[in-house]
Amino acid sequence: MAAGARRPSADHADLASERSRLWRLLLWPPFVIALALLVLPQAVFVWMSFHKSLGMGLVSDFLTIENYRRVLTDPFYLHAMWMTFYLSLGATLINLALALPTAYYLARLRSRWVSYFVVLLLVSLFVTVVIKVLALYLVLGKEGMINHTLRALYLISEPVQMLNSQLGVLIGLVQYTLPLLVMLMIGVFQTIPSSLEDAAEVHGATWFSSLSRVVLPLAWPGVIAGSLIVFNMNMGAFTSAVLLGGGRVLTFPVLIHRKVILDVDYAMGATLSTVLLVFVLLVNLASVLLLRERRGSGSQRAATVHVS
């Protein structure tokens, strides 16, 4: 009876590959939907960007690269792109500097407090960015908490301008993406067993060297992936730039929003969007290539420490 139930191994292999084929069928619906949502709208859109705007949301029938020439030669647009880039990069770096220690601490904390910490972090992740911006008004604005307190203490006579500037936008971006990055980094640190660090320290490694030679090389791919998610979110966000920039910080997303909603210039809106998209894709590609180059040496170093 038991022997009869056991299948010959050739049959088993056939069955397994038959099973894989069935599983692969499941792939089709999400693949087709994701492909359609990715390709169809983008195609319409890139097509649109090669037309001249006729106003009122209409575009010309003929093709032109005029829009691209305008965007890529006008110092105004180039400066806007540069500003979008350094604000997003700056916010991402500040986020990393804050998120890495926090996530490491929470991932290694052995206490019942962890779950309270995580609950609060999730609340912050949950609260939509517009509410965070509103809160920043109350804290950093001219009549806000900090200026109010400083004036009450006679430390300043005039309110300090913190919002309606690039600094305000930067703080807004950090608020927007910090909780997500901390969560992603907790996930990364949790996959690295703390026993590796203990082993390194038993063998005389200082905390710093066990971090830099064991933890970070292992965490590196996750850190880069998380940073890119956050960087991309910053590149595509305009809430904080619109509300905290005081109409003065014209990043690319703000310009796109204005072109499409206020000027109803879809051709130019499409061109700006395509330029932003290509720029972001290039940054992502460059980071992935850079990572691949580093990964070889990184894991090797980790391995040496582990063995020695």
Binding site: I131, L134, G141, L178, W207, L243, H257, S273, L276
Partner: protein, 279 residues
């Protein structure tokens, strides 16, 4: 020697704790300030640490459009999170269990929406919907289906990778064991694979809901005439006209998020919600 080590440990933990507390102060301090400010009953738009005339006045004066927008947001986030998670789980099963060739490439493909700036996604879908209207007469702008479609697009990536990670970690041995003990493939899936997928499914569902619920840069282009999500409604308020009841409203939204997360913690546990957790 050990004393020095202990000092080091203390300093290190002190440093980490200090950064952590700063992060929490930075993230949650402003939210607390909103709650305090919402109790001030005068029309003034400035901060005072102690409200001069504390009252719940604004809580009873929240205009109906915000409550409606809250309902819209909840509906949109629930539906799109469910769809995105179902699609993501199917894709992950297909990639991992199907032993698809080019699994890496497929995963990269499903992650592509994360590389498109959200504002671009918003504009892209706006123009796509215009075109659909011109060609087919189908109107998706300012409609549930239109907003949900775009939200599914931006949240699928979170679901594919979270479920795929869990599936790769569990492997197929338990399924095979169940089947060799006489389980049908369907019951092996339902009683072995599905429970194993649960952590991944929850993380995906949770993140999709949060991202959909809070989104502005995509939704601002697609919402309209009677179908506006809460963040977009608040965005318009902050951009164009001030409404003091927004503080009370925001406080309620924060309390709602808090309550929802505590429920999730009680029901499924939060270690499920940390992405790529060790389970």
């Amino acid at each position: 020697m050990t004393g020095m080590l202990r000092d080091w440990r203390l300093m290190r933990n002190g440093f980490l704790l200090a950064v952590t507390l700063f992060v929490y102060l930075f993230l949650l301090g402003p939210v607390v300030v909103i709650a305090v400010a919402s109790l001030e009953s005068s029309m003034a738009y400035h901060f005072t640490l102690t409200p001069e005339n504390p009252s719940l006045r604004w809580y009873f004066a929240i205009p109906g459009k915000y409550l409606h927008a809250f309902g819209v947001s909840f509906l949109v986030a629930s539906i799109s999170a469910l769809i995105a998670t179902a699609l993501g789980a199917m894709a992950a099963l297909g990639i991992v269990r199907g032993q698809s060739r080019g699994a890496q490439l497929l995963q990269t493909f499903f992650r592509l929406p994360l590389q498109i700036p959200l504002v671009v996604t918003g504009v892209v879908f706006l123009q796509f919907y215009y075109l659909l209207f011109d060609l087919l007469g189908v109107s998706l702008l300012g409609k549930l289906a239109g907003v949900v479609t775009a939200h599914v697009f931006i949240t699928i990536p979170y679901n594919v990778s979270t479920v795929a990670v869990v599936l790769m970690r569990t492997g197929t041995r338990l399924d095979e064991a169940a089947e060799s003990l006489g389980a049908t493939p369907w019951s092996a899936f339902r009683r072995v694979t599905l429970p194993a997928m649960k952590p991944g499914l929850f993380v995906g569902l949770f993140y999709s809901f949060i991202i959909s619920f809070g989104d502005v840069p995509v939704t601002v282009f697609l919402a309209g005439s009677g179908f506006v999500t809460l963040p977009v409604e608040i965005f318009h308020t902050l951009q164009f006209d001030w409404e003091p009841a927004v503080l009370a409203l925001s406080t309620l939204v924060v309390l709602f998020s808090f309550a929802l997360i505590v429920v999730v913690q009680r029901v499924v546990g939060l270690d499920l919600v940390v992405p790529q957790s060790r389970r």
